[in-house]
Structures are given as C-alpha cells and as structure tokens.
C-alpha cells in the first residue's frame, strides 16, 4: 500500500488505511513519545492520543511536505500538552528547580547504542529533557520552545545548555561520547 493510497483511505475514514498508517509510523513515533514520557505506559498513552489527532486532522495535511514530519509534529505537540497537564512539569522547566542535578553511574543503563542514547536522555530531569528534545532533536528554535512551553526564551537557552552539559557527562561516563569534550563526537558502535 503506497503512502498515497494510505492517505486517501484515511481521508475516507477507512479503518484498513488507518491501520496501515499506524503500523507504518507508530514504532518511530513511540520512540519519540518515549523520550518525553516517564515510562513506556505513558508513552503509549501519548502515542494513542497523538494518532487520534492525526486521524482527526488528516484533512489538514497538505501534500507539500513529508507525512512523517507532519505526524511527528502532532505527536510532539501531543506529548508536550500531556506533560503540561502535570504540575511537576511546569516546575521542572523552571530553571530554579532544575539546578541541582545529582547523577551517578547507577543511572546509566547498558543498552544498544540507539537505545542507550535515548535512555541517557531519559535520565535527564524532565525540564532539561523536554528542552533538549525540542531543540536538539526536533529542531525547534528557542523562541518556538518558549512559546510552546510558555517560558522565557532565555530560560529555554539556559535549560538547553545545562541539559547538554549533563547529557555529555552521562554519555562520556558511558563511553558513548569521546573525550576531549571539544570534539563531542559519539563513538560508533559503542556499547554494542
């Protein structure tokens, strides 16, 4: 089933096409959700709500861009909306509360590299993690992040700087990232 057929079927509310779309993109999107969520169950809830929105708003998709990118955008916003319902999230994006991060080696899992990196990101405090996800991975600007998260642009910058520093530290400890820090290049196949 081509992407065009799937899209047409989804526009006509055909369950088969919807399932095909879901099967095609859900693994990757669950990976996205997993980076924002506390655990896998929460990630699946985010995925579910996100895909319901995708199917509800599928008519608004213009064929000008990639379908995956459009779906990903909706999923990310769904994740953020769900996180924002939680009071802890609001506190965590506040720079004052995000200052005292205490890490130790026990927090770093030993997994395959792609998952290792994701798990390392998930070790970060929620506020750090969200800003890092949005800026470094999703490619939002600090201005956009400030609008999405309802924080100051400077707060977003500070959060990201600290998140990045902390993540580097974690990755180096796990030997996923090479020293010296100036190079900041990940070792391919590390941890495999």
């Amino acid at each position: 089933m081509t992407e065009e057929n799937i899209l047409q079927g989804c526009l006509e509310n055909h369950a088969t096409a919807q399932e095909a779309l879901y099967n095609r993109f859900s693994p990757k999107m669950l990976g996205v959700c997993y980076r924002y969520a506390h655990n896998r169950e929460d990630a699946e809830d985010m995925l579910q709500e996100g895909f319901i929105k995708v199917f509800a708003q599928i008519r608004q998709f213009k064929n000008t861009g990639a379908l995956e990118g459009w779906i990903r955008k909706i999923i990310v916003h769904t994740c953020i909306n769900i996180l924002k319902k939680n009071k802890k999230f609001s506190d965590s994006v506040d720079i004052i509360h995000a200052d005292n991060i205490h890490m130790n080696d026990h927090n770093i899992p030993s997994l395959l590299q792609a998952k290792q990196v994701v798990e390392c990101i998930r070790i970060l405090p929620l506020g750090y993690r969200t800003v890092l996800n949005l800026y470094a991975i999703e490619g939002f600007s600090h201005r956009e992040i400030s609008e999405i998260l309802d924080i100051e642009e400077s707060t977003s910058r500070s959060q990201y700087t600290r998140a990045r520093g902390l993540l580097e530290e974690i990755l180096i400890k796990k030997k996923i990232l090479q020293k010296p820090r100036e190079k900041l290049k990940m070792v391919s196949g590390a941890g495999v």
């Binding site: 369950a15 919807q18 669950l30 609008e147 309802d150 990045r164």
Partner: protein, 483 residues
Amino acid sequence: MMDFEESLREHTDRFTLTPSRRVWNSIYNDLHPGSKWPSKSISLMLLFSIIIVGNVNIGYRKSNPSLLISTQNNFSNKETLQNTSTHQQKKNNSHFITAYQATSHATNQGIPEPLLIPVDNDLQPTPFDDLTSAVLTKKQSLNNSLKGYSTNSIPLKSINPANKTYNSDINNQAVVANTSPEQLEILTVQIPILGIKMPDMDKLNAGELINPQTQIPSAVAMNKDGNENKESQPSVAKISLKKIRKGAWTFYLNPSISSARFTAAPLSQSNISNTSPLMVSAPNITANRQYNARLSLSVGATSTLPINDRFQFTSGLMLTYLGYQTTSNFIHPTFADLILKDKTGSTYLKSYITHYGNGLGYGQIQLNNYSYQFAVPIGLQYSIINNQKINWEIGSSIAPSVVIAAQSYILSAEGRNYLTDPGLGRRFNLLANFESFVTFKSSGIKWQIGPRFGYQVFSSFKNMNPEREHFFDYGLKIGITGK
C-alpha cells in the same frame, strides 16, 4: 547545527519501539465507535415500540365496541347476527345499523320498517356486540341513509315498533360515533322518528349531541316473518360516555435558517491556573467572531395522543441539520492554543496546528460549522382554535439527541485562529422546540403549516471547553397528517 545535535538526532531517529496492540484497539474504538450503536439502536427501537403499542391499544379500544357500550344484554337475536353475513360485513369493512324509517319508508300497515344505515367506519359489530342502539359514525352517512335504503343492507337487529314501551318514546336514540380523527368520541344522538320531523343532519353539531348516559329504548327483535321474537326482551342499555382518543402521525419538513449563539468566550492565556510562574501571559485579544447564518433542515414524524379536548401529548423522531458559517482566511500552518479546563476546574493549554486565521485578508474562506442530530422529541400541544375547518395549535417539545456528525471551529485563546478538535464535541445534547401551526384540509390532505423555533440547550462542546456554542434555528414547519 553542531555535530553534537546532529549525532544525537541520528541516534534517536534510529530508536523505535513497537507499541502494544492495546494502543491500536483504543485508537480504533475512538475512530469507529460504531460498536456502540447496537445498544443505542435497541433503546430507540424500544422507545419507538412503546409509542406504537400505546397507539395500537388506543385503536383497539376504538375498534372494539364492547369496550365502549355497556349494556344489559338480553337480546336473543345473536343468532340472527351470526346467521347473517356479519363476517362478510367485516370483510367489507362496513356494517349497517337499524333505526326507524322516519317518513317515507313506512309500510302499508303503518309499521315502520327497519331502516338500515350503512356505516363506513371501522366500528364493526361482532356477534357479541350488544347494539341496542344504532351506531353511526358519520353524520353524513346517517343523513344519506335516511334518504334511502342501501340494497345490500343486512339487518343486524330488528326493532318492533309495536312495543309499547318503544312507542311511548317519541325519540329514538342512537349512538353516533364520530370517527373523524380530530373528534373521536362516542356520541349519543337523539333521532326523532315516527312522524316527528327529522332535523337537518347536516346541522348536527357533534358537541351538542353528547349525552353521557342514555336509556336505550326497548326493542324487540323480529324474525324473518316479521313476528315478534318473544324471547327477546326489552333492554335498557346504559351507555356511558367514553371518549376515544386516537393518535395521529404527522410527517413534517422544516426548512429553516440556523445560526449559533455564544454564551461564553474562550479563555485567554491569563486564565491558565497550573502553568509555570514564569509563564508569559499573552495579550488578551478580544477578537470578534464573524459568522453568518445558513439554511438548515429538519425532518421527522410526530405522533399525537390527545389528553383532553385541548391538550395533546406528542412524541416522535426527528433528524435535524443545523449550521452556520464562520468567516476566516487561509494562513500558513501555525500553532494555535486553546485554554481548556480539566475535571478539577484547573485550566491548561492545548496546542493545535491550524490553517485558518481570524482575519479578513486575502484568501478569505467560509468555514462550515454544522451538526447532524437524531432526536426523540417529547412534548405537548395546545389547541387554541379547534373547529371543523381549521385548527390552530401551539406546541413545545424537548428532544434528547445523539450527535451523528458535527464540526465546529473554535476560536483560539489568542483570538487569532480557528481550529477544530472533534474530541471536544458533545455526543449527546438536548433540543428545545417551540411551534405554532394551523391544521386544515386541502384536496383530501390534512396539512400543518406554521412557524417553528428550535434551540440547542447544551453547548456543542464538552464542559472542558469554556466556550459555549448553542445552535438555534427558526423556520416554517410543513406537515402532512395521516389517519
């Protein structure tokens, strides 16, 4: 972008997880809630059946005269009834009644012969009927019958006019059942006979003929030879007035103009209660929503059941389409927020991607807001004027409804964009209807025409959306009433 971010993105993009089947099942159930319809359909069918059974029971009361006429049955001419072609009469859906020939049909002996009056209603006699009086259904039938015999008349009962008791009564009495749909009442009519001038039956007014309790004149059945059947005893029948209420179905079409009323505006960002203290409050833009009314339509069927002379209970089914148009303009895809309320009353922000702005610039577009609802109206009608030619009634009803399909564009918190979210739509609602109409007959069809106003009681949105949208419509109801 720096190497670190690129490398991070590359690694995270490769990361996938397979979701459990539960996720897709939940999504599927949300997208295709058809599995819930059987239970709803059965509920509606049950309700519909109750209405139908109620009407049928009323009809049964009408069609079974034994339920209507309580008499002391001492007649022995049941055999006559049975031996004659009563069954054939039933097949023909007509029967005949006896009365006395008033003037021209008297016999040579001066004994009035039984006058057979065809009745074309569905008040059919049975062998068990105790028709000690003539039963008529239509004044016109009676009048026509008095002018001449019907050749295929079959006497149900013969009355011996020589009976003293009877002769002493100047006025024969008959029961007239007026079975016109609007005046279904058993009437007791005093019919002057035996030399007494017959009144003009056309001038008979049903309302004037009601006699709640009538002593039926004595009557003696006669055999074929015209001899008195001595087994027959005079009978005094007490006929109590029983009003027969028959329901009627009206099928109607209601073209109308519909629009919406907004009783609460969307919340601005300053209303958010559970976000970060560092949150920047956006300026509260009071944007005006520009929208236009549009044509809408309701179709349905209403069953009316008289409660008394003036009031009628109504119930039925209705399918309605309501809508209006919002003036918008195309914009580049952008994020728009809504401030929603959770169950605890706290507010939170929800972001959407939208293509529609709240402006009047280039690329203007009319956004269609609509709602298809299936409703079960229940209400009352009151007759202001009720006569033979025309009725004027007012009515109101409430109608619990199921929203079959709906789309409403919501103004964003900033007031700059319009967005939709089917998840915010209410599945069940309540419609209120007010109407006034006249009923008249034209070309054999009974019409109902009059203005009608409808209002959606609950907001189209769930309570989590503070904005309140209520559809309303006003139009002309055109209905046809069946028997």
